[in-house]
């Protein structure tokens, strides 16, 4: 290879595997067990980094339970042979060693889909719909796997139009409801999202796992291409909330909050994740749920209703939110419609009513903006004053945080603004952090720099440099580092990264 940072270690997989098979009398069946060459390679790699073999032996056994247990033992043996071969043959000392990190804290290995799923259980979600789509389906299947223990209805619908509307119907009927999808499915949900917003449904919560589009695009790859679409999906103007978590921890807390928002502000809430967040494992401390509080917003019981002469589902109130009732409640009958409607939910084309209703619905976004703490709207990392301010959102968070450390080593002082709430947009906060920033570098996993556009729309602030990537692969730490360096050292306005 001719690269000083690349060492080659030849390993005769066939011979090593044969050695392992001989010990158990399977040497005649090499072709049958050919696939175990992978396990040999795995064992060899483990030796190279000097990791504890017992831990990986246990991990292999976990993958082969029941009738497959004997096969698991065979794999452990193959790994051991690879491990021993490496230890015996190459003792030059590989530069990188990995050892278990002792920790008193209880930790877990979790993917985004699991963090979202557990958040849904914790938030009291009782109804999930989905149409099979990569990479969102794993979350629905996770929920369905625990259906019996948590009493959640999971419905596989005929399409995503049905998925979003069935969840909306369930939300109107009084349960916390959600649906999960990816870009193509979210496209089909656009009209339904408008109906939910217009009828002030207390939901649904929609989890969007972005993948590289448009159309089928790169269906198993990651991209941040749907931010502007989420904010504009559907015709006409209606309120919606959109939150973009940056890692599994934020996936958990943001999803939990989303259900409170949906019921408090009576509007659909979209949690924008992506393929990378959905399926990448992270080791994190077990989530602290002690501060999580359920807030179902304003609801009227039969007793409350007895005291009212006439219940108006869309009553004009100072804050825009009208108390809701649950169908089945005596005295709480309401009508609702996708047509413009009066306080009773009946159709009207009255022009004054239209203006008041538009204001009532849209005002709820201001109410939400006041209710959400600043600490959740954006994350800001690093010193207040810096040479470079990196701006990003979603799953690039990890790569950016790692790259900042490398840039520090090079003497480039960085901070990082991660925007988490996209609607309502934290205009003042973003303004505060960016208006005096020296050099602003936008990092996004898309072609057009959609967050950059959104910031400009709300604040007038223009990014100085853009580091973009749209080959379907997530940013690596190196790429953020190289991209930012290229931008600030060479003054490259737009750097396109394309590592596979």
């Amino acid at each position: 290879m001719g690269r000083p940072d690349v060492n080659l270690y030849p390993v005769p997989y066939q011979d090593v595997l044969l050695g392992a098979l001989k010990e158990t009398g399977h040497e005649k069946e090499l072709s049958k067990y050919q696939v175990m060459a992978n396990t040999v390679a795995f064992g060899a790699s483990v030796a190279l980094i000097d990791y504890d073999f017992d831990i990986i032996a246990e991990a292999i056994r976990e993958g082969f339970t029941g009738r497959k247990a004997a096969l698991g033992e065979l794999n452990v043996r193959a790994a051991r042979h690879g491990y021993d071969y490496m230890r015996k043959t190459f003792q030059d000392g590989f530069a990188y060693k990995l050892h278990p990190v002792p920790s008193k804290e209880k930790r877990m290995v979790i993917r985004g889909v699991q963090a979202v799923g557990i958040a849904k259980f914790k938030a009291g979600c009782a109804f999930q719909t989905y149409y099979p789509i990569t990479p969102a389906t794993d979350e629905s299947e996770y929920l369905e796997n625990h259906q019996r223990d948590y009493n959640i209805v999971v419905v596989q619908t005929e399409d995503e139009i049905s998925a979003v509307l069935m969840a909306t119907g369930a939300a109107h009927a009084g349960v916390r409801a959600s649906t999960s999808t990816s870009g193509p499915g979210f496209c089909l949900m656009a009209e339904g999202l408008g109906w939910a917003g217009h009828t002030e449904a207390p939901g649904p919560v929609v989890i969007l796992y972005q993948r590289a589009g448009p159309s089928t695009g790169l269906p198993t790859r990651s991209e941040q291409g749907d931010l502007q679409f989420v904010l504009h999906a559907g015709h006409g103007e209606f309120p919606r909330m959109a939150i973009a978590p940056g890692d599994p921890v934020e996936c958990f807390y943001d999803t939990f909050d989303a259900f409170n928002h949906a019921e408090r502000f009576q509007m659909p809430v979209v949690v924008i994740a992506d393929k990378f967040l959905a399926s990448t494992y992270r080791t994190v401390p077990i989530f602290d749920t002690s501060d999580l509080k359920i807030d179902r917003g304003q609801m009227l019981s039969e007793a409350d209703l007895d005291a009212r002469p006439l219940y108006r589902r869309y009553e004009f109130t100072p804050l825009g939110v009208s108390p809701r009732t649950i169908p089945g409640t005596r005295g709480g009958i309401f009508h609702t419609t996708g047509d413009e409607h009066d306080e009773l939910g009946h159709i009207t084309e009255n022009s004054e009513n239209r203006v008041r209703m538009m204001q009532k619905r849209m005002r709820k976004l201001e109410l939400a903006a006041e209710a959400i703490p600043d600490s959740k709207k954006v994350n800001f990392f690093g010193p207040r004053q810096a040479d470079v301010t990196i701006v990003g959102w979603g799953s690039t968070k990890g790569a950016i945080l790692d790259a900042i450390q490398d840039l520090e080593v090079d003497g480039v002082r960085c901070n990082f603004l991660q925007v988490r709430y996209m609607s309502p947009f934290p205009t003042e906060l973003v303004n505060q952090y960016l208006s005096n920033a020296k050099r602003k570098v936008l990092v996004e996993n898309n072609y057009t720099g959609q967050l950059g556009g959104l910031i400009r729309e709300h604040t007038g602030i223009v990014m100085d440099y853009r580091v973009l990537k749209y080959n379907g692969r997530p940013f690596s730490q190196n790429e953020v580092y190289e991209g930012v360096k290229d931008a600030i050292k060479n003054g490259t306005k737009e750097v396109v990264m394309a590592h596979a």
């Binding site: 209880k106 930790r107 877990m108 290995v109 979790i110 699991q114 557990i118 259980f121 914790k122 009291g124 979600c125 009782a126 109804f127 625990h146 259906q147 019996r148 223990d149 948590y150 009493n151 209805v153 419905v155 619908t157 005929e158 399409d159 139009i161 049905s162 998925a163 509307l165 069935m166 969840a167 909306t168 119907g169 369930a170 939300a171 109107h172 009927a173 009084g174 349960v175 409801a177 009209e191 339904g192 109906w195 009828t199 077990i286 989530f287 359920i294 649950i326 169908p327 089945g328 005596r330 009958i333 309401f334 009508h335 609702t336 419609t337 996708g338 047509d339 939910g345 009946h346 159709i347």
Partner: protein, 309 residues
């Protein structure tokens, strides 16, 4: 004591004079009243079209949804609260055209609800285009040319999809329609009531006089009641596959009868586990307490964390 008027609202009705919708609206209100349901126990869902306004005229929980999308929304509400009596109403364009996917999908689930389709062969609200049920070759008065595509057979489609109660009635025979609706609501499972309906404004072919057979040499009404001919669409033993095939077969054959003689009444019915029953098999608590009444807010998720630790 409840009265029929308790199912009426004061909302102004702007349907055309003589519209078949009035018959359907009256029959729905009467059926709910005669079944002794209380208004707050019922939720009515509609799509878009003239029929879409129906919920506004009925004093129950009412959801006027999107074009073709009443069934998914109704399904979500019913599953959230199986104690609700759920009725969906819509037009033929709404249900058999733009909403055809949901029509089939909902039938497959056998959700316990009633679907009432106003079938008049035209899109009334957009001024008379051909609806999915208009037979090929027909041209109603506002169409530039005759229909050049096949009309869909909703009853045969419903039976194939899995509806477990499939009936047809006539908007101007309110008594027959009311009784059919009552049976449909009482039926446990997905019930389709396809209602032949006149549109005096845009369908100048299938008029009241046409249904009455005024153009026929015999002057005999086109509509006849299945139950008066000895026809029996009810499956007695759902486990008897031969009987099920036979009853489905005769219903599908009969559903294609159209022209000088048109059958109305119950074409097919069978008792099968509903979607709610199937869910209860997976989640015993679902059967006992409606989802909306269950406490979902004190769940212990620590076992889920433990499983990942």
């Amino acid at each position: 004591m409840l009265e029929l008027k308790d199912f009426r609202t004061k909302v102004h009705n702007d349907w055309c004079p003589g519209c078949g919708d009035f018959g359907i609206l009256n029959a729905v209100q009467m059926a709910l009243f005669e079944l002794k349901l209380e208004p707050h126990q019922v939720a009515i869902f509609s799509g878009i079209g003239c029929s879409g306004k129906t919920p506004h005229f009925v004093n129950t929980y009412g959801f006027h949804t999107l074009h073709g999308r009443s069934l998914p929304i109704a399904t979500g509400a019913k599953l959230a609260n199986p104690a609700l009596t759920v009725v969906a109403v819509g037009g033929d364009g709404d249900g058999y055209g733009i909403g055809a996917g949901h029509f089939v999908g909902t039938g497959r689930r056998n959700l316990d609800f009633t679907y009432v389709v106003h079938n008049n062969g035209v899109y009334g609200l957009t001024k008379g285009q051909a609806s999915p049920t208009l037979p090929k070759g027909l041209r109603t008065k506002s169409m530039p040319a005759p229909a050049i595509v096949q009309g869909v057979n909703p009853l045969a489609t419903a039976i194939s999809a899995g509806y477990t109660f499939v009936a047809r009635s006539y908007a101007l025979d309110v008594r027959h329609l009311k009784e059919t609706l009552k049976a449909a609501v009482l039926h446990k499972g997905s019930a389709l009531v396809d209602v032949l309906q006149t549109c005096p404004t845009y369908n100048d072919i299938n008029t009241k006089e046409w249904y009455a057979g005024a153009d026929l040499p015999t002057k005999a009404p086109r509509l006849y009641k299945l139950e008066e001919t000895g026809y029996d669409g009810k499956v007695k033993d759902p486990n008897d596959t031969n009987e099920v095939y036979e009853k489905k077969g005769q219903a599908i054959i009969r559903s294609f009868e159209w022209g000088d003689k048109i059958p109305i009444g119950l074409f097919y019915s069978i008792q099968e586990p509903t979607f709610e029953d199937m869910l209860a098999d997976r989640m015993p608590a679902y059967k006992e307490v409606p989802l909306v009444k269950q406490d979902m807010f004190h769940r212990d998720v620590s076992p889920l964390f433990e499983s990942l630790a």
